[in-house]
Symmetry: C2
Subunit: 198 residues, 2 copies
C-alpha cells in the first residue's frame, strides 16, 4: 500500500493529492455538514477517484476526524476507559479527558478546533458528526441501557466543562486541580452513564 506521505516523496513538484482531498473534505463538512458530505462528492471536488479517498483516509468517519485535525484520536483515548467496564467509568473517563485537555500543547490545538466548531455554522459538525459519529458509539459501549439518553447528558456536562475550564476560563474552573475536579464531577458522569435515570 502506498501512503500519502510516500506519494509526496516520490513525486516532487506534483500536486499534493492527499492535501487536496483533505481541503475538499473540510470545505464540504463545513458547508454541508456531516450528513451532507459523501466520499464520492469529496473525491469529485478534489478531482480524484473515490477509491483513492478511501485509500488515504479510510471511512467517512476517519475522513471527518482527519478534517477536524484533532491532535489525538478520541476513539483511542476512550478505548481503555471502555475496556474496563461501566464500574468507575465516570472517573476513568474524566481522568482520560483531563490527561489530554490539561496538556498545554494539546489544549492549544484542541481549543482551535472547538472555537472553529462553535463558530457560526460549525454547530452541525458537533451535532451531526463529532458526538454521534465519533464519541457517541464509544460512550454507548459504557452504558447498560438507553445510550440515546445517557450519551447526550454526558455530552452536556463535558461540553460545559470544556467551555468553562478551557474556552472561557472561569477562574475557579480553570484553576481547579484535576484530582479535585475528578472527585466533584466524576459522580455526575457516573450518574449519567449508569445511574437510575427516569
Amino acid at each position: 500500500m502506498t501512503s500519502g506521505r510516500a506519494v509526496r516523496g516520490r513525486r516532487p513538484g506534483a500536486p499534493d493529492t492527499r492535501a487536496e482531498v483533505l481541503a475538499a473534505a473540510r470545505e464540504s463538512f463545513a458547508g454541508k455538514g456531516f450528513r451532507g458530505t459523501t466520499i464520492r462528492a469529496v473525491a469529485s471536488a478534489a478531482g480524484v477517484d473515490p477509491a483513492l479517498v478511501h485509500h488515504y483516509f479510510g471511512t467517512k468517519d476517519d475522513l471527518f476526524l482527519a478534517a477536524l485535525e484533532l491532535p489525538v484520536d478520541p476513539r483511542e483515548v476512550l478505548a481503555p476507559v471502555v475496556a474496563a467496564g461501566p464500574d468507575g467509568a465516570g472517573e476513568r473517563f474524566l481522568r482520560a479527558f483531563l490527561a489530554v485537555w490539561d496538556d498545554p500543547d494539546l489544549q492549544v490545538r484542541l481549543l482551535a478546533v472547538v472555537r472553529s466548531v462553535l463558530a457560526e455554522g460549525g454547530g452541525s459538525l458537533l451535532k451531526e458528526g463529532f458526538i454521534p459519529v465519533v464519541v457517541g458509539p464509544v460512550l454507548a459501549q459504557l452504558v447498560a441501557d438507553r445510550p440515546e439518553v445517557r450519551v447526550p447528558l454526558v455530552a452536556s456536562q463535558v461540553v460545559g466543562l470544556i467551555v468553562t475550564r478551557y474556552v472561557v476560563g472561569l477562574p475557579a474552573m480553570a484553576a481547579m486541580p484535576a484530582d479535585d475536579l475528578v472527585a466533584r464531577m466524576a459522580p455526575v458522569l457516573q450518574h449519567y452513564l449508569t445511574g437510575d435515570l427516569p
Copy 2:
C-alpha cells in the same frame, strides 16, 4: 424622578441621552471587560455626568445587565428559587431556568446574547461579569459552604445545557421534555449546590 422615557417624550428631536449612555456602556464592556469599565468612563464617553448614568441605570451591575439586553433579569428569576432554601433547590433552579429558556420568544433573544458573549472577545463578560456579578451572588445564597467551588460547578453544567440544548441543539437534548430533563439533571445541580464535595 424623571425616567429616560419621559425625557425622550418631552424633548422631541433631542439626542437620546439614555441610548447614548447604553451604547457607550456596551462599547466599554465589550472592549475593556467588566472590571475595566467604570461608570465615570462610560459617562465621559457619552458626554454626560456620572450622576445621570446612575439615575438612568442604577449600579454598574444594573448597567451591565442593561447593556447585555437580557429579556429577563436573572436576579428576579432566581429570587424565588433562593427564597425557598437549599432543599430541592437544584430542581427549582432548573425549572425556573427552563421556564425562561424553553419560551420560544425569550429563547431567541437569549441565544442572541449567548452567541455574542461566546464570540471572540466576549469571554471576559461571562467570566468577569455575568457569572461573578449577576448569577454568582444569587446562587451563593443557596449553598451552605464554599460558594467559590459550588457556583462554578453549577455554571459548568448550566453552560453545557445551554450549548447542547439551545446553541448547538443536539437532537436528544433539544427534544428532551422538561420533566425528563429535570428528573435527570436536577440531582446533579443539587450535588453541586449542597452535596458532600471534597
